[in-house]
Symmetry: C3
């Protein structure tokens, strides 16, 4: 518990670090180097903060062996101080524990299965044939559709909507307002009118995936939309029907993948970036902010399309010129021809 | 039922096609040419897949008369194979049927009206004076505000929020997490402080509209926000107060129309495109991805503003130059003047 | 009540205006100059509508003293007609009043505190130790997490998700589907796999803040995310962990502030604009649509990055040239060198 604290040796074991100093020192919380107070543990993972390391009031600091000489106090020496800090946060999480059992106001279909160790919140709905695994937490107002499966140790927040036929692996975290399994955006145009293409597939979510608030993952049109293990999605992300996201790919807010596109492993999509539909993105691609990957990518690396901000008056002048860029190129070509003739 | 399948003749009647081959052939599902297995129906609507047509394991294929000679098996001949496929999907939809009646946990205000054939899910709230039409489905946790009207055959998913004074036509589909009738973003600035403009209008949704997950349609400030029949909106779309969207206009994810703008019929807004407020967009306009329609459009056609992606190092060089584009034009002008003088 | 109307003198007192004409004239609603009918009050705040002022059927008009001579009818003379109109809307709001008390279907934890004057809707959940202030309205399906505080006079709509440890000031408006206090997007990369950084901070919302539908405000990683008094956020806004937004800053739809960035007072973020993480934006900055503030801003003023729309064929020509802009600059430089040599 954060209340009674943790001793350094215990933290070291959890995060894979070694103690330098007093292993029985008791830690009551985590904080930045700058804000840490007595009894708090901090971390040093960015050399820009070397001054703060020297001046911190932290009781102890997580740092790499190569930085250990820059700090005289109690320390946890780790191979990667930032990863070690990330692991330490789990010990100090203050999220209130959910109450095991099914809240009396929850509505569980008689044909659904709910593990005895699960914590089903108030006003939850679990549909026919659905299955809720061991130690799952379902927040208030969340709805699990018919025949959907929620694997062990998932934590699903309040007011999440899971449609029917969605299969979620183990240890998945889903934040408030997220929607999994809504219809993909599929319509055929019949002389101006849109004819709905009913979306017959499902959604498969791998183990350990994290899904942000108000993020949407559409069900497949034919076949499933697939999110592989270890993927992390920020808030307001949109995953179209029949997309396939490879392991450990990360997508920041508003990043979007259009229908039927396959994304490789360990890709990073910055805010408001994305990919068009029906293309294939290889492993280890970075899409910078507001960049649309507009065709298949076969070469790992970073791609960009956003422009740099400028003060508006200066910007206006340049943007107006952009509308005549093709003409400008022709003018330069003409000059080159003339000069070439002359020289 | 998908379980027991449908015979070709029945499907042909439903989709307006003619059978070539055995009209009693039983079909158990739909799939792509590539993935179709025994007993499944597929479709051929894109000549890029001609090879797949030759090699498909599908039991039958929907295709146009002009393509019929390229496939030897059972076929459904349709004037538009893609539209015919769209119609066929309705026959194989596996969405579990909702249970008719009002779930005991739903809270229906005594002054509200709910049709006997409607299916009201768990934890639904229907406010004072609201009206729910025949065969309407309201998913778990959905809230219908006071005096709102939901027309016949609407399918509203879980955790949808409909405010008061929202009038929804017949056959409208609304996905999870959508919000209709929230206040438009209207404030007057009083010496630095914002004074709220209470939003006194409502929302009107025409027949057959589809609204995606986490999409928001704000109520009017004075007068109503209007979405005409046949409009289709993807996930995360934003419709500002007093917007008027014409029939059959389609908007992809994150497309947004700012307040008081009128959009014509049969327009298409690609992902993250949009229009500024207080303008008028004519019929048959296409806004490509990330293009803001920044003034009224009177000429049908396509508009763009997004740039093409590039590998980041090359991109950086060009983007840096963009900030001096106006200066570049002046330099070229100067050269032209000199050369003109000389020649 | 809007039903029985309000007399001009009463409205004048509420909005800080003076009556010209009959102070007992009864007003039944508000409308635009163009659409106003008998019995309705309108306003004139934009000289572009001078023709409409001359022709309006409004019973009375709010306008500035300097415009009073352009209108012959009953008038409310105000120093700022638009602000006065904004204040008047509060008198004609038709939002149905919420019923005081706790709805029987709501689930209130025994250790939570709910003011007697609060109106708690159906299917609401209030967690352990939470506190709901006087006259608060909580819409159906809304969930308030453990130990969160909702100040007096807040109006929170349906299906809103408030996590644990969120402190909301007085008079805050939160629209449907909004999510406050979800985990910030924090992960450390451990050889390709993402290690979650548990988010240990909270969220603090100042007095009078307005938060749009499907807007998300993440909890802090260490320390709190802070939204100061008077901030207004449109729909689909994203506020990352440990962001600090200064008083009266306004953000339109899809505007986003990445983690740990500080934004000053009275800033305006247009639609889809934003700021990167770990920077500081001074007071009185305007970010135009789709502009990412990519570094700290110390000079008040307007910033842009979006391009102007063009018809697609013309656009394509210019966009293609952009990919060779650096090369073009080099070509111009070469020409300048040659010409310089010659002249």
């Amino acid at each position: 518990m954060a209340e009674s604290g943790r001793v350094l040796s215990e933290i070291a074991t959890h995060i894979g670090a070694t103690v330098r100093g007093d292993p029985t020192l008791r830690i009551y919380g985590l904080n930045t180097l700058k804000d840490a107070r007595v009894g708090e543990l901090s971390f040093f993972a960015n050399s820009a903060y070397r001054d703060q390391l020297a001046q911190t009031s932290a009781a102890a600091v997580i740092l790499a062996a190569s930085d250990a000489s820059h700090f005289a106090g109690h320390a946890l020496i780790a191979s990667d101080a930032y990863v070690a800090y990330a692991r330490a946060t789990a010990l100090f999480d203050t999220t209130p524990p959910a109450e095991t059992g099914v809240h009396p106001s929850a509505v569980i279909h008689p044909t659904a299965t709910v593990a005895a160790s699960a914590a089903i919140g108030a006003h939850v709905t679990v549909g026919a044939g659905a299955s809720i695994g061991e130690r799952v937490v379902l927040g208030p107002g969340t709805s699990i559709g018919a025949n959907s499966v929620v694997g062990a140790d998932c934590r699903i927040a309040a007011n999440v909507t899971i449609y029917h036929g969605v299969r979620i692996g183990a240890g998945v975290v889903i934040h408030g307002g997220a929607v999994l399994g809504a219809d993909g955006f599929g319509f055929a145009n019949d002389g101006g009118r849109w004819v709905k293409i009913h979306q017959l597939g499902g959604v498969i979510i791998g183990d350990g995936v994290e899904i942000g608030a108000c993020t949407t993952i559409d069900r497949g049109a034919l076949g499933d939309t697939v999110i592989e293990a270890g993927v992390i999605l920020d808030n307001h992300v949109q995953i179209g029907h029949n997309v396939h996201l490879g392991e450990n790919t990360a997508m920041a807010a508003y990043a979007a993948i259009a229908g039927s596109t396959t994304v490789g492993k360990n890709c990073i999509f910055a805010g408001q970036s994305g990919a068009v539909g029906h293309v294939s993105i290889c492993d280890n691609v970075i899409a910078h902010a507001r960049c649309t990957l507009s065709k298949s990518i076969t070469r790992p690396g970073a791609y960009s399309a956003d422009l740099l901000m400028d003060e508006t008056p200066q910007w206006r002048r340049n943007a107006a010129r952009f509308r005549h860029l093709d003409e400008l190129v022709r003018r330069v070509k003409k000059l080159e021809n003339k000069i070439g003739d002359e020289s």
